[in-house]
Subunit: 255 residues, 2 copies
């Protein structure tokens, strides 16, 4: 049995709490937040506290607060030499106070407040300073069904950055597509199966192999037609830059 | 029963042939291609020909050839007043020879040569010049399990353009993410669940509502960190442009 204390009350903290509660080999000893009202709903099923001095012993302290608050919070902890992890993609393990045994427990997924999360589909990136702690975190990750990966600080930062491309930027391309279809009064709905298929394709083959379309085959006629259709200068700039990017990747001449 | 003759031998033609063959209410009368060897494999199950003068009567002639060849091919057809459709997203219905009853039968999906296609997930965009022909094409689309949409020429062109954003450009963002993770020796694998989830999210909520991340919340510190991490000027340009695009959409100040 691994005992965990959760620190913070945001999306990530809440989703971890819920999955820890259902895991047979994990017990949640306490849940700390500096404002109690954010976690009051759970007071009948777990001990809650807003007093950092009242934190009990536990195998793992999981800090899931805003990036900017992690370092200061770790220095406030009223103990030494216990395993404390944060859950951030962009903060280093050394940003935790050095009096502690330190680690990172970073779930690479997008969490939505009210939607349930299936942890069995979430890759968990683990880093620790001590080797022995790595095994504890790996066991904890597996207890909630995650696939765990050993990822160092530079690698985690690269993943966090790459995640912005495949999540935020991709979603913005969906948004631009929505604006384009809306301007002609045609349903965005029609594009949804293509969005699904595009994401599905790269589960099995590399994005390089999956590429198709006018930019890849250097179909200047279609590219010209598309640029003429785009009357939004911003959309046009994105079209040009990503067309050039595809042509660079696939060894075509520049636009 | 609707009788169809297929013209062309590329991905789209082959996938349509296979699905028409399995549909109970569709019969494939003939398959034409200017080079017989491309369709020879099928000669025991369907009549094949490379002689355009030998085309038989049928309810629908489906032209699935390269965009540039559609217009000329339609003018070569040795008959008038029969229903001829092309399957292209970017070619107008009027590019077909005016001696014919003309229409468009455009499946909005990405077709891969060897992968089987599930037509029940494919939106089929239909346009016809005569109202009566519209019903024939709708029935044909439904016979192979497609959801059909009435889409005019301008709308179809907008969809074809928007498809480049959600398919080719999105795939290129996956590629950039692959390059970023590879440069740190970390597995692209780890990003795959996030790619799936990002595509899944916009099936239910709009891309506008689905957006998260540093650009949307104007988290300048993280954006600065990311730009510093990117040493590829091309990746940096994409990061800047799409961050500015998100900020424009969500009313944040410019980068």
């Amino acid at each position: 049995m691994i005992s965990v204390i959760i620190i913070g009350a945001g999306n990530v903290a809440s989703h971890f709490y819920k999955t820890f509660k259902t895991a047979e080999t994990v017990s949640v000893t306490q849940w700390y937040n500096r404002r109690l009202n954010a976690i009051e709903t759970y007071q009948n099923e777990v001990e809650i506290t807003d007093d950092i001095k009242a934190l009990k012993p536990a195998d793992v302290y999981l800090i899931a607060v805003k990036d900017d608050a992690i370092s200061h919070l770790s220095s406030q902890l009223p103990f030494e030499d216990r395993l404390v992890v944060h859950t951030s993609g962009s903060i280093g393990v050394h940003d935790l106070d050095k009096k502690l045994k330190r680690g990172v427990f970073y779930p690479l997924q997008t969490f939505t407040k009210d939607a349930d999360v299936d942890f069995s589909t979430i890759p968990l990136c683990i880093e620790t300073i001590n080797k022995a702690d790595y095994q504890t975190l790996k066991t904890l990750g597996e207890a909630i069904g995650c696939k765990t990966y050993k990822v160092n600080g530079d690698q985690r930062k690269a993943l966090h950055l790459a995640a912005v491309f495949v999540n935020n930027f991709t979603n913005q391309l969906y948004r631009v597509a929505h604006e384009i279809t809306e301007s002609e009064g045609v349903e965005f709905e029609i594009l949804k199966p293509l969005i699904t298929e595009t994401a599905k394709k790269v589960q099995d083959i590399s994005p390089y192999m999956a590429q198709t379309g006018p930019a890849k085959r250097n179909d200047k006629k279609t590219i010209k037609k598309h640029l003429k259709l785009l009357n939004n200068e911003h959309h046009k700039a994105i079209y040009k830059l990503l067309t050039a990017s595809i042509q660079k990747t696939h060894g075509r001449q520049k636009l």
